[in-house]
């Protein structure tokens, strides 16, 4: 919608056939990029050109393209989801770049997130963590009137802050330890802040942390990269809350 100035960009994109083969950077030059395009629309244009040349397009994950499904990823110039704060790759626009820029595009790199192809990785590990305890055990038909459970506005807001996590994995990708503690901390916090989560609070935090460790995610060493790269601005205070919950459970859980 602003005045159009078309850009030419140099892209260095990670290409990898599958998880069993070695990948490499491949250089592409792309012309006619408008400022109003989103980053993924720019890649669409590249892929369109590649297909017309009979070459394989670059594979990347994406779906809603409005910053909420958590499907898109990409390390852009070394930053998960690129340079703009609290913005997913699909909501990043080309007006943040300049004519003749070189942009390096890589997949998430973490052992628990193996590359499937090119920029697409397997984030199945996050589902496994949720499966270990990211729920309340309520079956359909049991619930009492919603207003029978009162939640203070402050706690509801904090729970919502944590619950906004889109499960994209930027926190893991940004962390030198590939720690998933922001992701797990956000889910543990959401339930720890709500009365609905109290009954299973201790089992939940113990099981989710155990699963996280089993899957090969590293530990937190307080660098704060996760918070800085989180497209939803999830605060690391959620990690602190998880640690408190964990300590509480580690001492008090009935199984001990």
């Amino acid at each position: 919608m602003s005045e159009q100035k078309l850009m030419t960009l140099n892209l260095k994109i990670w290409r990898q056939k599958n998880s069993a083969t070695k990948g490499e950077f491949v250089d592409y030059r792309i012309e006619g990029v408008s400022q109003d395009m989103s980053f993924l629309e720019m890649l669409d244009v590249l892929n369109d050109n590649l297909v017309k040349e009979g070459k394989e397009p670059v594979v990347f994950d994406h779906d809603c393209r409005e910053g909420i499904c958590g499907m898109c990823s990409l390390m852009i110039n070394g930053l998960p989801h690129g340079p703009e704060k609290e913005t997913t790759t699909c909501q990043l626009h080309m007006r943040k770049f300049h004519d003749n820029d070189t942009i390096v595009i890589e997949p998430w790199r973490a052992k628990p997130f193996p590359v499937i192809k090119d920029l697409m990785v397997d984030r199945n590990a996050f589902d496994r963590i949720i499966e270990a305890g990211g729920f309340t055990s309520v079956t359909v038909g049991n619930a009492q009137d919603a207003n029978a459970i009162l939640v203070s506005k402050d706690n509801a807001e904090l729970a919502m802050d944590a619950a906004q996590c889109v499960g994209c994995g930027a926190c893991v990708a940004s962390c030198k330890n590939a720690s998933a503690m922001l992701f797990v901390g956000a889910k543990v916090s959401q339930f720890a802040l709500l009365p609905q989560g109290q009954i299973e609070a201790q089992t939940r935090v113990l099981n989710m942390v155990k699963k996280m460790d089993e899957l090969g995610f590293g530990n937190c060493s307080n660098e704060g990269e996760c918070e800085a790269s989180c497209p939803k601005g999830i605060s690391i205070s959620n990690i602190a809350r998880m640690n408190r919950e964990y300590v509480k459970a580690a001492f008090c859980h009935k199984s001990l």
Partner: protein, 640 residues
């Protein structure tokens, strides 16, 4: 070729009693027998995830399929504004009856009364269930749930979790799904697409899937198949749907004999960010809750190119407030969208393209302060600014309608069973509850109603009449379908033409938007009906799909989906042509009142059109289900 009169199997009795009576009459399956049944659920949005979790809780074995890498990413996640329920917590005169009434009226009297009443009845249970799951709904200071108002209603009945209600409800349903997966009762297939429905002896008995990572085709057998695969808005190429949202599961079921009902009912959402350029891949919606505080206007003068701040109050036309004084900016979506188009058609549209109107928050900011507006809509304002580079706290937003939701879908009876025995369809994928126009905050309600509170009962009723039998995966029909599917995908790759598949999708989208979009007429529809088959021929001659079929091949996936969209687009145009009236989202320009409102023809069209496939390139049959209104009087919808 005979036209069938379809039976919706609506139970007897007063509308208030139908569901209760029906639940009692439905056969039950005893707990130890439930584990002998297997159910396939395709799709993990609100309807699919809630159905899979509820059925597993009851004791059935469930296989769940989603095309994304995780069930949590289904497009229900993008719903922003809220979910309706008739709790009447604000004490403002709401009731089950009023929600029922508003929904039937909002749907322009083209929905089944009995279904809508049931939806309103269970709406309250949904809120209870979600609150118990730990969905962080907005709260008042006393700790009670908060409500807001939405288009098409004069009460505040919408529950919300900031501007991310769909996300939070989906994560709730997803958490229930994961809880059941942990118990080993549900088998989850991610990055897997359904490519065909398998029928044995006239009943749906399984599916063929394609693994999107390995390209492998696989057979799955079950006692019933549930499709919860969402809507088909992406037939327009540009829509607010996610990139991978598609009609293929539903379409392939249609080709196997499931009737497709009211395909022409499309909802064009009024508050979307206008198109910016040719390379646009999708449109972004902003919750219509914005219309609670934003005022819609255009300049009174045609072609007025002054910036909005320089247009004085008396030269602005707040046209919704002017035309509809009682609902104002909160008229239903179809009315708001059509009026925006009317303004643009009269050369009063704003922005570089002229295809936009203003949504202005200046008065609300003056009244409540920027902080209050920020607390309500902060995330939407941020999103708008990220996309457009304009600050909506300072300049009015520009909005324009975009394709958003499809009310049409596979025909289902009161039990949510399609015209194929054992094939059930839930959520947006079915046609049942919204008539010709859906009210805001009702999609989430319907998805969860179907999954949590309807299918657990009606599927039991079906199983009560069909004992588990000996049909196994080695049945020849499965092998046959697997072969047909794999050949179909081989064919796409063997074409070896020149154009990327998206080219065809874009072209189809243009034909659809111009001729089967917000305003439709006989000439345009006929034009679409001649252009689409041409495009389809071209598609099968000229697509180019590089890469191997045995690994991730996005072009190949898209080819399968676009091939189906090409056929569906044609059916939509045909349905729109045959429905010679205007109703809700279907606006035939030949049928309007002198004030440009939709003019229904209740005498000839108070029915559902359910299309029956007759074979490749043959005209399908238009079957009919008559709609009877015993409780709500049909009137010209008025929001004035």
């Amino acid at each position: 070729m005979t036209i069938k009169k379809l039976d919706g199997k609506i139970p007897e009795g007063r509308v208030q009693d139908k569901w209760e009576n029906h639940k009692f009459k439905l056969k039950l399956v005893n707990p130890s027998n439930k584990r002998k049944y297997r159910v396939i659920v395709v799709g993990t949005g609100l309807a699919g995830a809630s159905a899979a979790a509820s059925l597993s809780e009851l004791g059935y074995n469930v296989d769940v399929f989603c095309i994304q890498d995780s069930p949590r990413r289904a497009h229900s996640i993008a719903a922003q504004g809220g979910i309706n329920a008739a709790k009447n917590y604000p004490n403002d005169g709401d009731s089950v009856w009023r929600l029922f009434y508003d929904t039937v009226k909002g749907g322009d009297y083209r929905a089944r009364e009995a279904n809508v009443y049931r939806l309103s009845q269970v709406s309250n249970n949904i809120i209870d269930q979600c609150a118990a799951q730990g969905v962080p709904f907005a709260r008042e200071y006393g700790g009670y749930l908060s409500n807001r108002s939405f288009g098409g209603a004069q009460v505040s009945r919408t529950f919300y979790a900031r501007g991310q209600t769909g996300q939070q409800l989906l994560l709730g349903a997803y958490s229930s799904l994961m809880k059941e997966i942990a118990k080993g009762k549900i088998k989850l297939y991610t990055r897997t697409e359904m490519v065909d429905l398998v029928m044995v002896d006239g009943r749906a008995r399984g599916i063929i899937s394609r693994n999107l990572v390995t390209g492998e085709f696989q057979k799955h057998v079950a006692d019933a198949v549930i499709l919860a695969t969402g809507g088909y808005g992406n037939v327009f190429y540009l829509s607010t749907n996610a990139m991978a949202s598609n009609c293929s599961a539903a379409w392939r079921a249609y080709r196997k004999g499931a009737y497709f009902a009211n395909p022409c009912y499309t909802q064009i959402h009024p508050t979307c960010i206008p198109v910016h350029g040719e390379h646009q891949s999708k449109l972004t919606l902003m919750s219509e809750s914005l219309r609670n505080d934003g005022r819609v206007w255009v300049p009174k003068k045609q072609g007025d190119k002054r910036p909005p701040g320089q247009i004085p109050m008396e030269e602005r036309d707040y046209y919704l407030e002017r035309i509809y004084p009682s609902f104002g900016n909160l008229v239903p979506r179809d009315v708001a969208s059509r009026n925006a188009k009317l303004q643009a058609d009269q050369n009063k549209g704003v922005g570089p393209s002229g295809l936009a109107v203003y949504l202005d928050f200046q008065d609300a900011i003056k009244r409540d302060g920027e902080d209050v507006i920020k607390a309500k809509y902060g995330n939407l304002f941020d999103m708008y600014q990220r996309i457009t580079d304009h600050n909506p706290y300072q300049v009015p937003m520009m909005i324009y309608p975009a394709v958003h939701y499809t009310m049409g879908g596979l025909w289902v009876d009161y039990n949510l069973m399609s015209s194929i025995e054992g094939l059930f369809v839930l959520g947006e994928a079915n046609f049942s509850d919204h008539g010709a126009n859906r009210l805001g905050a009702s999609a989430l309600m319907q998805g969860l109603a179907d999954g949590y509170f309807v299918i657990p009962y009606t599927l039991g009723g079906y199983f009560g009449e069909h004992r588990p039998d000996s049909v196994k995966i080695d049945h020849p029909e499965f092998e046959k379908c697997l072969k047909t599917s794999s050949e179909k995908y081989k064919r796409f790759q063997s074409i070896g033409g020149k154009r990327p598949v998206d080219d065809f999708h874009r072209e189809l989208g243009k034909i659809m938007w111009e001729n089967v979009g917000m305003g439709r007429n006989e000439k345009g529809l006929k034009q679409a009906l001649s252009q689409i088959p041409e495009l389809k021929k071209e598609f099968y001659k000229d697509i180019r799909i590089p890469g191997s079929p045995a690994e991730v091949n996005v072009e190949l996936e898209k080819a399968g989906r676009i091939a189906d969209f090409l056929e569906l687009g044609e059916l939509m145009a045909l349905d729109a042509l045959e429905r010679k009236e205007s109703c809700g989202g279907h606006f035939r320009e030949e049928h309007q009142t002198p004030e440009n409102e939709a003019m229904r023809d209740d005498e000839n069209f108070a029915h559902v059109a359910a299309w029956e496939f007759q074979g490749e390139d043959k005209t399908p049959i238009r079957n009919v289900e008559e709609l009877t209104f015993e409780n709500i009087k049909l009137t010209q919808r008025s929001y004035k």
